[in-house]
Amino acid sequence: MLEKLMNMDRRLIFILVAVVVIIPTLIPIRLPTRVSEPAQKLYDYIEELPPGETIMLAFDYGPSSLAEPEPMAKAVLRHCFNKGVNVIGVTLYANMPTLAHGLMQKIAAENDAIYGEDYIFLGYRPGALQVILGMGNNIASVFETDYSGTAIHEIPMMKNIKNYDQIALLLDLAAGSSTEAWIVYANTRYGLKIAAGVTGVIIAQMYPFLQTGQLVGLMPGYLGATEYEKLLNAPGDGTVGLNTASFVHVLLIGLVLLGNIAFFIHRRREE
């Protein structure tokens, strides 16, 4: 029995994970959440921006990791469009433009935002550091056209925007090390204010930058997306995802505890 428990068939674990993912996704259970300080700071910063100000949204994740950053992107875009804050979309990931462009179009349509006046999507250019540094001098020197091929100087929203001096905030939605690059090259060199929304696995890396104030705010994984949705009073994909993640976490903790109990009993018997 103990041997069986210690060497549990992994297919059983796979089935348990599948059940724990599928049920909360199909039957939404609303768990209580409280808003953390970093997410509140980001919300407050955008909330206090006057209409007509511009923020830059960097979609620095790929299709493989979109489950966590995408709800954050949706929540922030809704907030900006409702506030009249303009959004410039950009990505440092080659496989992201189609998804990011589609997402911006979808949220804009839901909020009656107009392309070229309320938001634009610049797309992707190779060379992350050169792109970050180049936009600090002149955005048009890096992106002569937007993603659709319209010349930057012909876009009404970009008439008075030359570089980071006219950008109130860069929000990096990241699944890798891009936030650190934005901090080192755009914040330190050009003084651009940076905030981040990151996947669960890189939350811990962000805390030194939060403490120094190099990050204005932070959305940590599903939790951050849920907190932002709570602040907007509009539960969405983040809330559903967090509830599912909750049950998976409980299952994982239960499995680890079970494995350790079996391990200790086995070790005691051997002694």
């Binding site: 998804l99 993603y147 409980v250 499995l255 494995g259």
Partner: protein
């Protein structure tokens, strides 16, 4: 000369760009902007190099009939389809978008989603409190995991309601992230940064030459 040229260029541009960081003079800033523009032009060539390397690698696999060489043919088919449609019609072409949304996105998401299943299985087998360090790691991971989801606080406030501390799970997680995590991360960042500075100086001065290839 094959090695002296790159070494001289590296020294020249390294010193010049360090200088531009400390000098606000217009000539210095113009030089900085110019070099950034050059960088933007040069960087896409890395993509060409990557494509050439990928093709060479897979041609070799097909030619030598190594294990699973058939998958290399799939690489060529995928690449040819995307290039033949993508280059003339652009990334917003409906066929390119369809292929991206219905082939690449689901496959990428599926590959990453499978991790959840393997992590659960691996955690069950490998996450054992065998030593003091392993126990410390295990306990810390459990606290951060349970504090990261609302069910942690829900359980704390329900089961441990006799403890005069509300939302204890998320507060414990926050303490770990704010104090031990921050201290260790900062130490790592400082160490890495000092390493980067010293390595950069070695490269600029031509002491470190491994980036040139050839083994020294």
């Amino acid at each position: 000369m094959k090695r002296q040229g790159p070494l001289a260029l590296c020294f020249l541009f390294g010193i010049a760009l360090i200088f531009t960081q400390f000098s606000p003079h217009s000539v210095s800033q113009k030089l900085y902007e110019e070099v950034i523009d050059w960088g933007l032009i040069i960087t896409p060539f890395a993509l060409v190099l990557a494509v050439v390397t990928l093709i060479e690698t897979h041609i070799t696999r097909v030619r030598r009939r190594t294990e699973h060489w058939q998958y290399s043919l799939v690489v060529f088919v995928g690449m040819a389809v995307m290039v033949l449609i993508g280059i003339p019609f652009g990334p917003q072409n409906s066929i390119v978008e369809w292929l991206y949304n219905n082939v690449q996105v689901p496959m990428d998401a599926t590959m990453f989603s499978l991790l959840a299943f393997f992590i659960a299985s691996a955690a069950y087998r490998a996450f054992r409190a065998r030593t003091f360090e392993a126990t410390l790691l295990l306990v810390t991971a459990m606290i951060v995991m349970i504090g990261n989801v609302p069910v942690g606080d829900l359980a704390w406030n329900t089961v441990l309601s006799w403890i005069p501390l509300e939302d204890g799970a998320s507060k414990a997680r926050q303490w770990i992230l704010d104090i031990p995590n921050l201290a260790s991360r900062r130490g790592i960042i400082l160490g890495v940064s000092l390493g980067v500075i010293s390595q950069s100086i070695r490269i600029i001065l031509g002491i470190e030459r491994s980036y040139l290839g050839g083994g020294d």
